[in-house]
Structures are given as C-alpha cells and as structure tokens.
Symmetry: C2
Subunit: 373 residues, 2 copies
Amino acid sequence: MTFDLPCTDADSQARRGRLATRRGVIETPAFMPVGTQGTVKAMLPEALKEIGAQILLGNTYHLFLRPGHERIARLGGLHRFMNWERPILTDSGGFQVFSLGKLRKIDEDGVRFQSHLDGSAQVLTPESSIAIQQALDSDIIMVFDECIPYPASRDYVISSTERSMRWAARCKAAHQADGSALFGIVQGGMHEDLRRKSADDLQTIGFDGYAIGGLSVGEEAQLMYEVMDYTLPHLPTDHPRYVMGVGTPENLVEGVRRGVDMFDCVMPTRNARNGVLFTSFGKISIKQARYQDDEGPIDPDCDCYVCRHYSRAYLRHLFQSNEILSSMLNTHHNLFYYLQLMRTMRQALEQGTFGDFYRDFYRRRENGDTLES
Amino acid sequence: MTFDLPCTDADSQARRGRLATRRGVIETPAFMPVGTQGTVKAMLPEALKEIGAQILLGNTYHLFLRPGHERIARLGGLHRFMNWERPILTDSGGFQVFSLGKLRKIDEDGVRFQSHLDGSAQVLTPESSIAIQQALDSDIIMVFDECIPYPASRDYVISSTERSMRWAARCKAAHQADGSALFGIVQGGMHEDLRRKSADDLQTIGFDGYAIGGLSVGEEAQLMYEVMDYTLPHLPTDHPRYVMGVGTPENLVEGVRRGVDMFDCVMPTRNARNGVLFTSFGKISIKQARYQDDEGPIDPDCDCYVCRHYSRAYLRHLFQSNEILSSMLNTHHNLFYYLQLMRTMRQALEQGTFGDFYRDFYRRRENGDTLES
C-alpha cells in the first residue's frame, strides 16, 4: 500500500491524498459506506459504484458469527461473496464485542462473549481477529482494540489503552503478508497525554495507517474536535489517518479541515431507513405531513438519481407505507450526499479553494434553517 | 387502444398479440408485475424496464386510501408519481374491498367499508372506482365488481354476478373518454352457464378488453383450467383477454395455451420476500441450510443480473440476515423469471414452436424434481 499527498491546504491541515491498495486507488479524503453483514443495506453494489463509493467497510463481528469467515473464504472471499471488487476495510470486531455489555468478559488474552444471534459462547483475540479479517480477504485490516466508553475514569482509560497497545503489537505480529494493509488505532479517551502516548506507541510498532478510535461515543462535537486537534499532530503525515465511526456532515468537514483522510459511519444509511435525509441546507424528516403534497426533490441542489426522478411527496408516501423502495431511495440519496460532499472537498483542495468551500458549507445550512423553519 | 394478433398457434388456442395503448405497445401474452402502493415492492422502475416489464398493475383500493387519488392527480398522475412512463393497468378496488370480510357491507349502490389503515368509513361505487382510476391516469381501467369467494352457493353466485354486470354497465357509463381503455370482468363462479351468460352480458355492454375474474381464489388448478376452457370461447377473439390474479408459472403456460393474453399476480414478488425462488426446474426455498455453501446461481439456465453475480450461499445469507438486499435480489430474479417465461412463449408462438416449448417446460421441471430431491 502506498499513500501520496498531491496537495495540502495552505490555511488548514486539510490534505488531498491518494491511497493505493492492492484492489485499487482510494482518493482521499474519503467516506466509506458501511456494509455490516456483507451488504450496504438496501443498495446494489453497482449503485454504490455509480455514486462513487471507492471502498466499503465490512464488520468482522457480524461476518464471523454469520455466515462465518471460513465459509466466506471457501466461497472465494468477501469481495466475490458480495459482488464488490473494489477495496474493503474491515473493522476488528472490537467495537461490536465491547458493545455487548454484560454478555462479554475481557482479559489479557482477548474477549469472551455470547453471540447476539444464538447466545453461543465465542472468543475474539487479537490473533483471531486478524485471522478472520485475512480469511475475509480484507484489503485494510484494523487492529483489535477496546473502544472505551464515555465517560470513563482516567484509570480505566489508562489500563484499557495500555492493553489495546499490547494487543496492537500482537496484531502486527499475527498479520500475514498477503498484500493487505494493517492500521493501528489510537485510543486514550478524552485525555491529551494518553492519546499522545497511544499515538507514539503505535508508531513504535509501525502500521500502514493510523486510526483514531473511541470517538462518536456520546461526547459533544466540540470535545471530538479537541481530541482530533491534539491527536492528529502526533500521527505521521505520510500515512493515512482514519477517524472511526464518524459522523455527521459537519463532523466530516471539521475532520477534513483537521487533516483526517478517511471516515466511516452508519449515519447516512441508518438515517435513510428512518426517513431522515441529508441536504445542502441540513437534515429533513421525510415522514412529516408538510411534504405530502411537495412536488420538489429532496434537495434542489442535488443531482442524484433520487432527486432527479422523485418528489418529496412520493418519498413521504413510500415511508408512510413502509415500502422497501423507501429504504432503497433514501439510502441512495444519503450516500450520494456523503460521497458528493467528499468529492466537493477533494476538488476544493485541488483548486486551493477549501476555505471558500468551508464558509459556503455553513452558509447554506444557515439559510436552510430559515427556509425550513 | 388497438389489439392485433400477428400469429396464433396451430395446435392450441395460444395467441401472439400486440396491444397498443396510449402509453405504448404491450406484446402479449404478457405478465404484469403488481405495484400495489405505487411501487413494485423492492424494485426500481429502471430495473423493471431492464428486465422487460411492459406494464404494471396499480391497486385502486390502496392508492385511494393512501396517499389518495386526488393527491396523486395533483402531483401529475400515478406515472409521474412513481417514475414509470410505460402503461399502467389499475384494478377496481373490488378485490381488496371484498377481502375485508366483516369490515364491509354491499348494497346495490356499492360497498361501504372500513379502511384497514385507520378504520375510517369509506365507500366505493362503480362510479367512484372509475373516477379514482381516471384520476390516477390509468391506461387500462377495470370495472368495479365482486370477486366471488370459493366455494359459494349457486344462488349467491347468480345474484352477485348479476349485480356485477349491472355495475359493469354503470362503469361503462361513468368512464370518461380520455384515451384510457376499459375492461369488463367475467364472473359466474365455477358454473359454465353463469360464466357464459356473464361473458355475453359484458359483450352486450361492450368493452375494450375482457377479463376473467374470480379465479385463483382457492380452487384446484384443474378447476381453474376448466373455467378457462369453457369461458374463453365465449370471449371475442379480437379483444385482449386477461385472467386476473393468476398465477404460478404452470398457470401462465396453461392460460396462454388456452388463449389468455394478460396475467398479473403477486406470486413472484411476494414469494421473493419469503425466500421462494422460481427456476426452470421448479421452486426452491433459499432459506434451506443445503444452500449455505452452494457457490452456484439460483438457476444455471437463468441469465438475469442476480444469477450472473450472486451465489445461492450469498442469497441464503442475506435471507437469514433479514437484509433488504435479500428482497431486492430475490424479487429481481423472480420477476425476470416470469417475464422471461412470457418472452419465451411469445418467441415460440412467433416461430411456430409453442408445442415444443410446452413439452420442454414440463420436462425440465420433472428433471428438476430429481435434481433437487
């Protein structure tokens, strides 16, 4: 894997990059749609390509439990299984396992947990997580770590982060050379010194890219930006930087401005299924009665398939009628919005107009608030 | 509307027709996918066109209650509302209203019923059904009638059919000239003399096409074929003949052989969502564990998008995981199968090989039973 930075912004930390993986190039800053169970919910792979998805995220926890990584390996790997030949990044399973609460038990070796599907006893360790991700034939593999809840005591953050760093070293040792990249994940909670130490520890081990984990866990946006502000300068500039599980359109813009290259989040897809749609002037809830006679598109400034062919009135009808097409069209629009936002930022960085983009992004939202209220 | 018959089969009643509507030509025999609530469940309109859907069926009952035919009219009609410019046939609402059981009351004027959505009191009459269908801007409008349950007493069938024939005359009188076609519906239960009288009564009124209603209501397939056998000869050969709510692939083949031109049924779409898939060798249930490691396509003889790109193992995984993509891919395959079956029959009729097609159709199924058991 190689990472180049064709240009950087003069007035911020924003960077326009190019990440070359064994399955193709990812232009950064990039957003990765989430394909939890071997599918980005309600989207065909061809539609994902059409709207410009360069890389998808797959969930190790879910695929490990069902249909099983060994089965996927026998069937030719995750790409072939799900009809997606472009790059795939897999998470480590850590986030989901730690979300299980009382159903899981952590020790130095790894995590014992009960499957949410059938209650069966399962184990994930740094070594098994890497083996699963390699069986899936992932292009970018994430280390197995603990996503620390928020709030958490400083003592817990210290011990958890230290363990995650020991696990990161075990992941590095377990990773077989197969052309896939391995990313480390900075933890350290909301503590500057602990984040800095974690970033240093990971670089001592050495990874192909560096992620910031443990964000978007319930903290205020301002605190998330602070953590980015004091963590990103301690990550190497010549490697990709990925903020995991983030976020809103505003979070993406703020992350890019601070020098983040990669993002993933279920927000565009999950919100779509709940009828919440992203626009250049903010979010709208399509279920509202105000849209029942609205002939206009979701966003007059959007050029996506949905905005070119369907009215808000129709989308509201589909949502009210609990139609599958509602999830399909809403997801298509929201993912287009996210991917278009990233394209716009990449172009602005190429043209040296990121500052203009940034002001315009917020100005439209302010006008939109007036328009919609 | 015009209807031509370029060729007919020498050895059966099968006919290859061409129905020209104001929104384009429908090559018959044709199958019409069902778009109950302004969408064929889990399918994009572009995908429907790609797999060869020539005409869709819309449900008056559902659209009347939600979002309302007047709203759809204000928004430019059903075609624009749902992004489908090809022809639409609408049912009259009769079938759904009569299915409501205790929630409805019939008199000579029409039917009073309670909405299944909110319990509100509603009325449908022959006149209002036609007005609703014309507000939707339907291309082929069906008369409002009673779909007689099975079994029913001969006395009930007589009185119901006579009322349906009086309603058919009221529908004809209420139908405004707007370029749309109006089809009558033969009732008469499972009684040859009553079917014949109904067919004669409708022709006295005069319609653009003639449907056979009251089939696929729980009777044996053999009885359905008998009704077709003794009813179809009493319908004019120079008008399209449509058997409503039918049916299985076998029903379509048997209907075409008897001279039916048009069919509609929820079977391919509803079965898809339940994991039941149609193939040239019979039905399969993709949820079965036997498919969990099956690398092959649903049907090796099928050239649809799904069979070209996805394994049975993947489709089984999607079904087990309750993924929306499961409904999307299964529906795509099943509708392709139905539409391809109709294409194959049309080609066989053009080439004078319908008899060969017919034998091959059943032979493959017999072999398939062996293969699958």
